[in-house]
Symmetry: C2
Subunit: 245 residues, 2 copies
C-alpha cells in the first residue's frame, strides 16, 4: 500500500514560471531604465533566490505550483505578485518545459509565461537579498533548466521584434524615434543607423506622429509618435479574449 505522498510523487507536478524582461542601462542603475538616453540599454530580468531544496541558494525565475482552482495564467500572476510584486500588463504563454529529468526530486512540468514591462512597471519590483535584477545575457548558473528557458525567451523576443509591435510594450503610449530606436538597439544588441531607422519605421505604417513634441524648452524638441494599431502587440487569435493586453 502506498501513502498519499508516494502517490503524489508518482504523479507529474505542474508549475508556472515567468520571464520578465525590462530595459535598463548597462550598469543596471536602479534609478530606472535608460531608454533614449546616451547610455546604451540592455535587457534585464528579475530573479528570485531559492530558499528551499532542491537547489537552495540558486537564482531562479519567479514561479511556483499551480493550484487546483486557478488558471495557468492566474497561477503565473499570483506567483509573480507574491515573489516580486510585479503585475505586468503584457503576459503571454511562452512554452511548456517538460524534460523528464529537469527537476531532481520529482517529475515537474513548467508552463512558462513571459512579460515585457515598461519602466514605471519595473519600478514596482521590491529588491532585496533574494530578489535582484540580472542582465539577460550574463546570467549565473540558474536553478533547473532556467538558463535554457531564458535563452529561449530572448530568442523569441528578438525574433518577434521583426514582425510585430512588441517594442511598444517597453515604452509608454507616446515616444520619440530615439526612444524607439533605443529599444531595438537594446534587444537586438547592435547600434542602428538613425536615418535608416527613421525611414524604415515611417514607411512601415506601424507608427505615426501624434502632432506633439517633447516639452522642456529645447531648440528643436523631438517629435512624439504612437503606434497606429495596424500591427498588433498581442494577437493570439481565438485566445485573445483570455489574454490580458
Amino acid at each position: 500500500m502506498s501513502d498519499s505522498s508516494d502517490v503524489l510523487r508518482a504523479s507529474i507536478g505542474l508549475a508556472v514560471s515567468t520571464v520578465i524582461f525590462a530595459l535598463r542601462d548597462a550598469e543596471g542603475d536602479t534609478s530606472g531604465p535608460a531608454v533614449g538616453t546616451d547610455a546604451p540599454a540592455t535587457v534585464w530580468l528579475p530573479l528570485v533566490r531559492r530558499i528551499r531544496e532542491p537547489q537552495c541558494g540558486r537564482w531562479a525565475l519567479p514561479g511556483g505550483m499551480v493550484e487546483l482552482d486557478e488558471s495557468l495564467e492566474g497561477a503565473a500572476r499570483r506567483n509573480l505578485a507574491e515573489t516580486t510584486q510585479l503585475e505586468p500588463a503584457y503576459l503571454e504563454q511562452l512554452y511548456a518545459f517538460g524534460d523528464v529529468d529537469r527537476s531532481p526530486d520529482r517529475r515537474l512540468v513548467s508552463i512558462v509565461y513571459w512579460a515585457l514591462v515598461r519602466p514605471d512597471e519595473a519600478e514596482r519590483l521590491t529588491l532585496g537579498e533574494n530578489v535582484q535584477w540580472f542582465p539577460a545575457d550574463e546570467l549565473p548558473e540558474l536553478a533547473f533548466d532556467h538558463n535554457l528557458i531564458v535563452d529561449y525567451a530572448l530568442w523569441r523576443l528578438r525574433t518577434k521584434m521583426e514582425y510585430s509591435a512588441i517594442a511598444h510594450a517597453f515604452l509608454g503610449d507616446e515616444f520619440t524615434l530615439a526612444e524607439l530606436r533605443g529599444v531595438y538597439e537594446a534587444v537586438l544588441q547592435k547600434p542602428l543607423d538613425p536615418a535608416n531607422f527613421r525611414r524604415q519605421m515611417e514607411s512601415s505604417g506601424a507608427i505615426e506622429p501624434t502632432g506633439g513634441v517633447v516639452t522642456g524648452g529645447r531648440h528643436r524638441p523631438p517629435k512624439l509618435y504612437r503606434y497606429t494599431g495596424d500591427v498588433q502587440l498581442v494577437d493570439a487569435g481565438p485566445l485573445t479574449p483570455r489574454i490580458s493586453a
Copy 2:
C-alpha cells in the same frame, strides 16, 4: 484520511493532444490530397471518437495522458501512433490549455502539439468507425475545448504562412508553382492570381528552380522548385535540437 484515488483526483492531470493538418480535396476523397489539381483543396484533420467517459461518443483530437517517464513530445508521438498510426516529421508545441473547468471529472491541463503532414504521410492513417478525417472549418461539436484548440491551430497556421516556409511541410522536397499556390489557396481559403503569386515567390528568395520539370510527356511540362533553406521551416532557437525537423 484519503485514499490514493482521492489524492490523484486532487492533483492536476497532464495530457497531450495533437492537431494534424493535411490538405485534401473539397469532397474529402480518400484517394489522396488534391494539391495542384483542378479540385480546390482544403485543410483537414483526423479525429478519434471517444469510447470512454467523460464525453463518450464525441469526436476528439488524438491524445492521452503523459506517462512519468516520457517527454511531452514523446507522449504526443506515442499517443498519436497508438490512435492513428501517424508519425509526422514536423511536430511543434502549440499551446498549453488549462482552464479550470475544461474537463468535467477532474482538473486536466493539455499540452497541445500540432503537425503538418504531406500526402504520403497522411495515407498512413488507418480509417475506421472511430477514426476519420474532418474538414477543419466544418467540425461537429468536439469533446472538451477541442473546437477552440482547432480554431487556435488554424489561426496559427494561417498567420505563420505569412512569415515562414511552413507551406513546405505539406509538399515534398520538389514541387511546381501550381502545387505551392494550391497550398496557399487551401490554407488561406481564397484564390490567388497565378502571375502575382509567381512573381512574389520568385522574388522572395525562399524558393529556387531545381532545373528539372514534371515528367510525363506534356508539351510544356511545369518547372520544379525547391526551398532554398534561407527561410526556416522550424526554427525554435535554443530548443531546435529537441524538436524533430
